[in-house]
Symmetry: D2
């Protein structure tokens, strides 16, 4: 009998299926239930390719609330509108809830512009903890967790400590980020077909991506007067995300102090590691919950780079990390056996 | 204190570094030492990206024998000529030895033609156990293990049961196999550069690959009169291996019986799973120790397909599986937390 | 004023758009019209990225017959059922017609099983010329052309000359082929998404692909008693196709004679070149109308390999080659400026 | 007999071999000679895969000067130190010279820091024409051409017109660029092997790439007070380069005026085309000499993106374009038949 029974809602998407596998192989967690309309009735063990009780079958999404009574914690790998409904209902029952969507990451007023809907559970926005442990600590007891987006995770871990330490100006920050295709979620349209994407590279949602206010909000907890320009790019890899951040140095911010700041910030981190900026690369983090960061500077600019696996540290891995912390366990439990893909 | 102290010799190559990571994250094993001339003096934990005692440093290959006294088991991820020297020396000291090279997989007479050297430790050839557990069982007590090659693993698991059950002719078997680029080991020549390999596909060593006699030998334990044609191809993926095997059906070998044979053979296997042949694909096994197999037939031909991750079930993962079995543990210990790369 | 006004029907698919570009840049051809329901009304020049009269717009497929009166030749890049209707109508008007589908490549009786429909224009089957010029010559005056499929083109050019010369047995031929993803045409389903296909490799339509009878029929013109097993594989590249063919050698068929046969067959060919088999690779042909072939043998087997760009020599390039021949021009006209993708 | 006999020096590198193929298939040029120490003695036609006089063989690099007497123009696809020696010698003989290296693109004082050598032919620096025709016109009669670098070509074409029109500030420009692997030239080291590069993405030479002063110099001809931060990234594609440029808008620079500026600048360009920024992508330009640009803006920032094939518009294609212009021909001659790779 494992310590924590975890339900995964939306377990057939990319983040959801990775989350469900991490739960299934975690030494102290077990899959209480997994929902998916597409896979309803199919064996969870067979579909995920993990060893698990073969009697466990996917249930329809509509059964989520009912099945939640058999679980101690729930991971929401659902669209923001759906999470907005589910999180309050589940958290009110005393369950530990981690929401992988953007439904509880912003201020109420940001939702119409960036997510296209009015927020219907605004009282939960201040209660939800923004779960980036390395910068904002462990979730408080009883608080549901807004698990950070993939782009904000990489950008904040790279540039955040420099802003907090007063080494860079808060205005005029540029985040130029490149994500693998799983970042877009499971898509079946023409534009994500292999032939369209392979050997391609492009920017998308230029000046209009919904992670812009999330990055701004995260940085604003670390410095005043933040202005961020964010450009996401789609790159032809399956997994991985690299964020190249530019900021103006404040007086006295030498390359040496920049490097030192990142090194000191993450000296005892289980997952984040400071390296020279040209050693920060996708292949060293993909498959793991690691984030690699690196920075340098000259008189005019600071360049800080962060790399993560968008499905792990950028989504499901960070969710498990938060769940570990909420239960008082080693934050790397169930994550330290992950192997990077590149040998 | 872990149960088994394991030395990894040749830990900077692809198979060796994957093997070392698997040992480092195994619940009952620890890295006793890791050798690499290239990385001598560097931190094993840092280089492999795993949590481990930071005092553990790579040692030169020449220190392998001396350091072996601090270990219970040794994995040889070395060239065949090197393994030929090391295995007898280490096995004679009572250590558990798994050799990932081809040095102890063939008959003495095969070595000059296929490996280009005379075998200098022929008395160890009959003592070494060919470590393909699903077909040839657990290693006997005290026997060193010749860990199978990547191509033979996929081919034997796919076609082997059909031959053993008398469903296919032993003569005229064709194995057309496609391997990812890590199968070639760490190479720095022009011909393995990204620009040369990306978007390419080609056959190599046509009618002359050294895995030909290994496949023949493995199949010859399952049927008489085996004749195999083997063509390896290089395909532009990092990891993974697919073997498409052709054989003539024997009288009465319907598609139904073919399917049933594979299904029954692997019904209780921890790693091998029988599927319809067009569901056997790299993406479902890469990152794991799984092997997927599938077959069908018409009046003229049986087609059997096997897929593995060449670095895991085709090398380091199978080595750990053999080591688990030698120690009487669950064969999946330390391997069942591996996550497939494709979400 | 160009010599030949060419209509392209189905110009938004992969083969059709490549064909339209080749026509637009051909020194002696011009695009008379191009049909596409999806792009109707859009500028052909803009969409194809070629310099052309900007007044030329895509027209709906339904306008094809009407617009055909303004053209001298028509390329059908349409589904087989559509080509089956269009080819007779267009050929009857005296137009030069090249059909890129499989509608006129087989015997009448093959269609229900392999294509799933009854052929409604069977009298045109014997009139259509199977347009593989290197083996079956130039199209006769007035005959419509059934442009060969991609897999048959590579397989027939590799193994065909050996069968014709009596060097291999006609029974027991195996064709194990690997195609890039454009071979499947423009697909928007989940199963062709980048995330599903990237770094993957698999067989599909095992023992049931519709190119099986086409290969059999082509080979049967070169030898008696042909039996072919054909397995197509999907490989994660955009373009390119490699066919690895296995046959039993007939008495006296040494490796030397095999090599010589291919070399002599193609000594004066504009597009086909005989090489050692491990130098036959996608990257040397992709982007061009070339086919590279190579073979070797031992006592038990002949291995012959062919490589093409599936959209050029396997489809649109060969269509232009046939059109050149029908008009008495150099068969490489408009094709010899094509540059391979790999530098 | 073609009009222009062109020698290609350094014809076995990526840019050099692409350049040689373009010359060989150009309607008005022929390959006078091609040098390569590695391929000396081999058939140019066979190696390049083009139709050409089979008697033409590669000659050693040392024969370049001697053979130049048989040519009208010479393309230097050589290292900067080599070009620095060759260009003066060849230009002094009255030959048309296009140098693809960086040897004549900067001011004398820039060479020690950015290229690591003292310039030994400084009097040729002001005589060399920086060959970016869309911004700086046709080469003057008699002037050798410094063919622009790949990163500067994309960056200058995207942001240059906006700076020239006074729409953006000259200080604080950021160029975040991503290049395919051929951009690094033919490399055989470990770090460019397929396994190291595939599915990876990283920045390199952060704040120290030698194209930084070239971009600065080009922009400084279009506006005063230019300060540029440039970060190149290596992305896992064979060909293609995307430059995402950031600048501060000057008063009155609306998104509308930004778009209009690019559209007007390139309205009659043969190769550059203005598009919405999220339609600027590698796959639409790779294989062709096209450059696609697009831009947008809000109150705080202007984002301008440019995409090219690094080997064509970023190297060999632009060299041919310059050569066409020097000879008074259509600048697209020999380039308008190029087909993009993505169908």
């Amino acid at each position: 009998m494992k310590d924590l029974r975890v339900g995964v809602i939306g377990a057939s998407g990319y983040s959801g299926s990775v989350a469900a596998r991490l739960v299934a192989t975690h030494p102290r967690m077990s899959v209480a239930f997994a929902t998916s309309d597409k896979l309803a009735g199919e064996s969870v063990a067979l579909h995920l390719g993990v060893r698990a009780d073969d009697s466990l079958r996917f249930v329809p999404n509509a059964a989520a609330i009912e099945r939640a009574s058999e679980s101690d914690a729930v991971l929401l790998a659902t669209a923001a509108e759906v999470s907005m409904q589910l999180l309050p209902a589940l958290a009110a029952r005393g369950l530990q809830v981690i929401d992988l969507s953007g439904a509880f990451r912003l201020a109420q007023g940001d939702y119409p512009r960036w997510y296209g809907f009015e927020h219907t559970a605004p009282m939960w926005l201040p209660r939800a903890h923004y779960g980036l442990p390395e910068l904002f600590g462990s979730p408080p007891v009883g608080a549901p967790v807004a698990n950070p987006g993939c782009y904000p995770t990489a950008a904040l871990l790279a540039i955040g400590p420099l802003l907090r330490s007063g080494l860079v100006e808060a205005a005029g920050i540029v985040v130029d980020a490149k994500s693998g295709v799983t970042g877009a979620g499971r898509q079946s349209g023409d534009s994500y077909s292999f032939v369209e994407v392979d050997e391609d590279l492009r920017a998308y949602k230029v000046l209009s991506h919904q992670h812009t206010p999330e990055i701004t909000r995260g940085l604003s907890r670390l410095g005043e007067g933040v202005k961020v320009t964010f450009t996401p790019h789609l790159t032809a890899v399956k997994r991985g995300l690299l964020a190249t951040c530019y900021a103006r140095p404040r007086t006295g911010a030498s390359a040496g102090r920049i490097v030192e700041c990142l090194r000191d910030t993450y000296a005892r981190s289980a997952f984040v590691r400071a390296l020279p900026p040209d050693q920060v690369m996708l292949k060293r983090v993909v498959g793991t919950n690691a984030c690699h960061v690196g920075a340098t500077a000259d008189d005019d600019v600071v360049v800080a780079i962060g790399a993560i696996d968008n499905l792990l540290k950028g989504a499901a891995g960070q969710a498990i990390q938060n769940l570990n912390l909420m239960n008082g366990w080693d934050e790397a439990s169930g994550l330290d056996g992950l192997q990077r893909v590149s040998p």
